[in-house]
């Protein structure tokens, strides 16, 4: 009895088939609870990395912010802290992300647009003015020039007399996903990996509480990948970083505990939860078995979640508040350590104060009203969720096997493999949307005739001018001979293969610009040109 089914096949947003009903049979004959999911806080951490999870401490609510000048972003930071946010997250503008100064020819029109413009330590001092760095944790979304911005952050701490051991935060510093998805690079992959291993070694010795790489699936998913691809390529990037650390002579247990992850949370609720649970289990096995890590903290996959920017619609933008709520709930039930909820107006512009506040309130409602934090991993043992988790793992392991066979992720990137897989998935999905096989409410179904657009944040033209003036002032005030000496020392460290972080710190203290520091290493490392994969 009952209705005929509406579709021949039900699939997730990524195209993974979903059955009518799941039972114990879907877990396979060998499914062993202790081995497959264990207890929370224990290997393989499928149910979460802590025994008490949110009963102990809720996730960190971390809204990504940055626009205009350092002074404007500093104001937004202070506003968010006053509103009860518990960590800072910095968005940099495109020139900074590319390691270029605000006065670079290609920076025209981009200064302060998508994030805050940072040229020298003077900007960084303004950015964190009045914010005690020993009492906040700061995440910095920066990759190609990550080491330079990290050095600037350390220099600000010195000026605030905060000891480096007291600093907590996260550097995204994930260059591999740049070649795969986000496309903000300077040097080719191999020298970029060397900068990263230098940073791993330096932080392990001097800034022990710092999360050195946030291995990011977020951008891979935004670029159009499926959930399985996001899982597989992100973990494969992680494996490449661990291998690079070992090849540089580091002991895995000195740096692996400081690696963290960053996943996307898209619309398909259970698929996202399964992805996050599978990621924890896979990473634990890789670290223990492939790399022989002994420290349980090396096995633990800690992660940040951001709701899917690419799922937001410009049409009927208030619907995005609902999408974000569902996605955020998936992140929470997936066991995230920190969360960014997107603002409803982000398909239109950078978020307004009002929109950011609703996004933060969404997290507060989930944490304090919904009751989902009262027990650990409430979905554990669900036939559907466990079967989906197993399937995610199986399919992602198959991708990783193929990448290993190519010689690892760097070789796979050089061959254009993940780029092509993502482009294919992204085109497939767009066709499904265009043909109405996948629904986007307000876009290809349930359209409204007229809409009142919300008030948007505008970045004025004066930002670029102000930033250029400040950069010029800093250049006039600094000691040019000293800047030159520090940059030469940095280039020499590049050639000598000694650790790059101390000379970088010298250069930023002398107020060398981000662009100057990055360019100093170009003669040694070269630049990257992508072979476009369509």
């Amino acid at each position: 009895m009952g209705f005929d089914e509406r579709e021949h096949e039900f699939t997730t947003v990524s195209g993974m088939p979903i059955e009518r009903l799941y039972s114990g049979d879907d877990l396979g004959p060998g499914w062993n609870e202790r081995e497959r999911i264990g207890a929370p806080g224990e290997f393989p951490f499928t149910r979460g990395i802590h025994a008490t999870m949110y009963r102990g401490r809720p996730w960190t609510m971390r809204q990504f912010a940055g626009f205009g000048t350092a002074t404007e972003t500093n104001r937004r930071f202070r506003y968010l802290l006053e509103q009860g946010q518990t960590g800072l997250s910095t968005a940099f503008d495109l020139p900074t992300l590319m390691g270029r100064d605000s006065d670079d020819a290609l920076a025209r029109g981009e200064v302060g647009r998508e994030g805050v413009a940072i040229d020298t330590l003077a900007d960084m001092e303004l950015l964190f003015d009045g914010i005690p760095l020993d009492r906040v944790s700061t995440s910095m979304t920066i990759n190609a020039p990550a080491a330079v911005l990290f050095a600037m952050y350390l220099a600000v701490a010195e000026r605030q007399s905060v000891p480096l051991e007291a600093l907590g935060g996260t550097l995204q510093n994930d260059i591999l996903k740049e070649y795969i998805a986000q496309k903000e690079w300077i040097y080719p992959p191999r020298p970029s990996l060397r900068i990263i291993t230098d940073l791993l070694a330096y932080a392990a010795a001097h800034v022990p509480r710092w999360n050195t790489i946030s291995i990011s699936g977020y951008h891979i998913r935004e670029a159009g990948s499926t959930a399985v691809q996001e899982l597989a390529f992100t973990l494969a990037d992680g494996l490449a970083y661990v291998q690079a650390g070992l090849d540089a002579g580091l002991d895995v247990d000195t740096f692996a505990p400081r690696l963290s992850f960053f996943f996307n949370s898209h619309n398909d609720f259970f698929e996202e939860i399964a992805k996050m649970r599978a990621a924890r289990r896979m990473w634990a096995h890789f670290l223990r078995e492939r790399f022989g890590a002994q420290n349980p903290r090396s096995w633990m996959l800690r992660f940040h979640t951001q709701t899917a920017g690419c799922s937001l619609t410009a049409q009927q933008p208030y619907n995005n508040i609902v999408r974000v709520t569902i996605q955020a709930l998936a992140g929470v039930l997936g066991g995230t350590q920190s969360l960014h909820t997107d603002s409803y107006d982000e398909a239109l512009a950078l978020p307004s104060d009002e929109a950011v506040t609703i996004a933060l309130r969404t997290q507060q409602i989930l944490a304090e009203e919904s009751g989902v934090t009262s027990t650990v991993d409430p979905l554990g043992g669900s036939y559907f969720v466990e079967a989906l988790t197993d399937r995610m793992e199986r399919e992602a392991l198959e991708y990783i096997r193929r990448i290993d066979a190519m010689g690892g992720m760097i070789a796979a990137i050089e061959a254009g493999f993940p780029q092509k897989e993502i482009a294919d998935a992204s085109y497939r999905y767009q066709r499904e949307v265009d043909e109405g096989r996948k629904t986007i409410v307000g876009v290809n179904r349930y359209r409204s005739a007229s809409e009142t657009p919300p008030a948007l944040l505008r970045i004025g033209e004066e930002t670029e001018r102000e930033q250029l003036e400040r950069l010029e002032q800093v250049k006039r005030r600094r000691d040019p001979a000293h800047v030159r000496t520090t940059l030469e020392r940095l280039a020499r460290a590049g050639e000598d293969r000694t650790n790059l972080i101390p000379p970088m710190l010298e250069a930023v203290r002398a107020y060398a610009t981000v662009g100057e520091v990055c360019q100093a290493l170009v003669p040694v490392f070269g630049t990257y040109q992508e072979t476009s994969v369509l």
Partner: protein, 137 residues
């Protein structure tokens, strides 16, 4: 001449914006629609885009801008085309572009702007209806 030649379109990313999901979808959709597509790759200056468009003798330039720099980059490309005597190359594009910016961009000479949620078929149909092969000589 018997057959009219196929439309030649330059599909480009200008400035430092690395978001290439949309541009790649558009490039494939144009190719599947039977147009000839020249893709610039990422991080191109307006000068390079215009130079390529002229060298490749395209009928139109299609730019994808998600960085917020559209108010600078579109007019810059149009100005360079005029300087080079190639103002008959149509310029259109898309990206995260607020409604309120569109009239000024159109006044500057951008023929069409497609905002998020536009379907590829809608864009392809627009090109078929509005972009004509340029008459040469």
């Amino acid at each position: 001449m018997s057959e009219p030649r196929r439309l030649r379109l330059l599909v480009g990313k200008v400035g430092l914006d690395g978001h290439d999901r949309g541009v790649k979808i558009i490039a494939r959709a144009f190719r599947d629609a039977g147009f000839e597509v020249i893709y610039t790759g990422l991080h191109q200056s307006p000068e390079v885009v215009v130079e390529t468009a002229i060298q490749e003798d395209v009928d139109a330039i299609s730019l994808s801008i998600l960085s917020g720099a559209h108010n600078y980059l579109f007019p810059r490309v149009l100005a360079l085309l005029r300087e080079r005597g190639a103002a008959d190359i149509a310029v259109f594009g898309g990206g995260i572009i607020p409604e309120e910016d569109i009239p000024a961009l159109q006044a500057a000479g951008v023929v069409a702007i497609f905002t998020p949620g536009s379907s590829t078929s809608e864009i392809v149909d627009w090109v078929r209806a509005n972009v004509l092969p340029r008459t040469i000589d």
